[in-house]
């Protein structure tokens, strides 16, 4: 494989595939690295192997990925599956692991299309087997055709929460209860954004249809839930939940939680890029311009990894970055670049009509990270919220100091599961503004590789630093 490519795309979801096929269509040499075994990211996971039954149940939001992937397959872009990127440098050097072997490669430009992840929110019992992300189980169905065995209890809020719930009811999953954590005041706050959102009447009808279906099936649906716990010995057996009516219990074989999606910032933070804070959705996102360019000339960020907008906007954001880079690499004359970008930006703007409304409607509840002292925050090193608070009260001033003292964030997931919660505890305990805090610092290797693999890393013959 050539050592220097025009563009290296990290991630083969909607944004990454779109960026790759657009750039390759303009004559650029593109390599896509993706850690999943099949193309499609989470939204279009395993779509090339999906059968008619699966396509019917998951509907057009999933099915339209077939067209994108077909176009990608017909392009000249190259794809490496099972390739886990573990370091990216500002000069475009990318290091990845595939089948136990690591290699270095370089892109004139790197497009980060890492996507979003379900927000990780610690609560008592969240480490019990059977407690999973709702979106996680949806993705797992796409690639394995398996469904959770009931009674399945759902808790959370957000568009993906509702769509997963819809899929699971269509699949005949036995649902024990749905615990909606959406704060009830959100609707009022979202009303100013309603007129623009009304352009997407289809989304409203879809949501309403889903809720009506729950009622028709006689599924227990509780609103205004402000907390929950999982109980059990070797796996989840019971869920308790609280609302203004007090604490109630429900039996559970599987407990699926979803408190929204957040951009995955591992690599943008590793690269030291500037991050902004979204107060409505309570998450960090990298600062980019209208085409996904960052303050580092080589690095672009597209898709939900830049800001959670969903699948269709991700496709457009991917194309925007590809066209901009094609202009920089003289693969596209300036006037046609300007025209194409303007067209894409107009498209993106209409695709985002629904978003401001949704972002406020599903604003997370204010007690999301108000964990009890006994709650395990760090799943890997098993550090409790109480231990973290004690370290802060003894003088730790940020996430990194607290990590050094408590080991919170020092385990195998490298802080991906506990990082947000750790920072939220600091915000609370020290009465800080989010922008005045320093989240966990990412360091290479950003994914776990063995020392043996690292020592045998194949480097460029003519390295440029």
């Amino acid at each position: 494989m050539s050592e220097l490519r025009d563009i290296i795309v990290v991630g083969a979801g909607p944004a990454g595939l779109s960026a790759a096929l657009t750039a390759s269509g303009l004559g650029l040499d593109v390599l896509v690295l993706d850690e999943q075994p099949a193309l499609g990211g989470q939204l279009y996971r395993n779509i090339e192997k999906a059968n008619e039954q699966t396509l019917k149940i998951l509907g057009s939001d999933y099915g339209r990925g077939r067209h994108l992937i077909e176009k990608f397959r017909n392009s000249n872009a190259e794809h490496l599956a099972g390739a886990t990127v573990w370091n990216i440098e500002a000069n475009g050097n990318v290091y990845y692991s595939k089948a136990g072997q690591s290699s270095e490669i370089r892109g004139k430009h790197v497009i980060l299309a890492i996507g979003a992840a379900e927000r990780s929110v610690p609560f008592p019992g969240w480490t019990l087997p059977g407690v999973m992300g709702a979106g996680a189980v949806d993705s797992n169905f796409k690639s394995s055709g398996t469904i959770p065995e009931g009674p399945v209890v759902f808790a959370g809020s957000g568009p993906l929460f509702l769509s997963t719930l819809g899929h699971m009811t269509s699949l005949g999953v036995e649902i024990g209860a749905v615990l909606d954590t959406t704060p009830q005041g959100n609707l009022l706050a979202a009303l100013p954004f309603l007129p623009r959102a009304m352009k997407r009447l289809d989304y409203f009808l879809k949501g309403a249809g889903m809720l009506l279906n729950l009622r028709r099936l006689g599924i227990k649906y509780a609103k205004g839930i402000n907390g929950y716990e999982a109980h059990g010995r070797d796996r989840v057996e019971k869920v308790s939940y609280s609302s203004k009516n007090g604490v109630q219990h429900v039996e559970a074989g599987v407990f699926l939680v979803h408190e929204g999606l957040v951009p995955r910032c591992d690599f943008t933070q590793l690269l030291g890029l500037k991050h902004c804070w979204d107060a409505a959705q309570r998450y960090w996102y990298p600062q980019i311009n209208h085409v996904g360019a960052t303050e580092i000339d080589t690095i672009y960020v597209v898709g939900d990894g830049a800001f959670v907008h969903g699948g269709m906007p991700a496709i457009t954001k991917g194309s925007l970055a590809a066209v901009d880079i094609a202009g920089k690499l003289n693969a596209l004359p300036l006037d046609s670049k300007t025209v194409t970008l303007a067209k894409l930006e107009k498209k993106l703007s209409s695709e985002l009509d629904f978003r401001p409304f949704v972002d406020v409607l599903f604003r997370p509840r204010s007690n999301l990270f108000k964990m009890s002292d006994q709650t395990l925050v760090c799943r890997c090193e098993e550090v409790t919220a109480g231990e973290i608070r004690r370290a802060i009260n003894e003088g730790c001033l940020d996430s990194n100091e607290t990590k050094a003292i408590t080991r919170c964030g020092m385990g195998r997931c490298q802080g991906r599961m506990c990082g947000s919660a750790l920072n939220e505890i600091i915000i609370d305990e020290l009465n800080r503004q989010p922008l005045d805090t320093q989240p966990l610092r990412m360091r290479p290797p950003v994914r776990n590789i063995s020392l043996a693999e690292l020592s045998q890393l194949s480097l460029f013959k003519n390295r440029v630093r």
């Binding site: 989470q42 087997p129 999973m132 993705s139 055709g145």
Partner: protein, 100 residues
Amino acid sequence: MFKPYHQNFEKTVTIEFEGIEFRVPDTITVAAAVLSYAGENHTSISPVSAKKRAPHCFMGICYECLMEINGIPDQQACIVKVEEGMKINRQLGFSGGGEL
């Protein structure tokens, strides 16, 4: 914890989990195979508290699905696809030979 929704897969492979053979569709991940076809509820034991653990995120982030695959520990079972003859074991505590 999981069950197959449909059985119309083109190809199957035979895998071995903790010494027992299972036939599973060739397109699925190790984690999915263990939690459905092998009928298991946990895939590892926490190195800190020795409590049972199972996959949580199914997309390669949480590292709760680490298992021993073909003798190599610390493999992410949720992003590795099954292969014919694959030998899979639970990861019990530390992978580096440490004891609980």
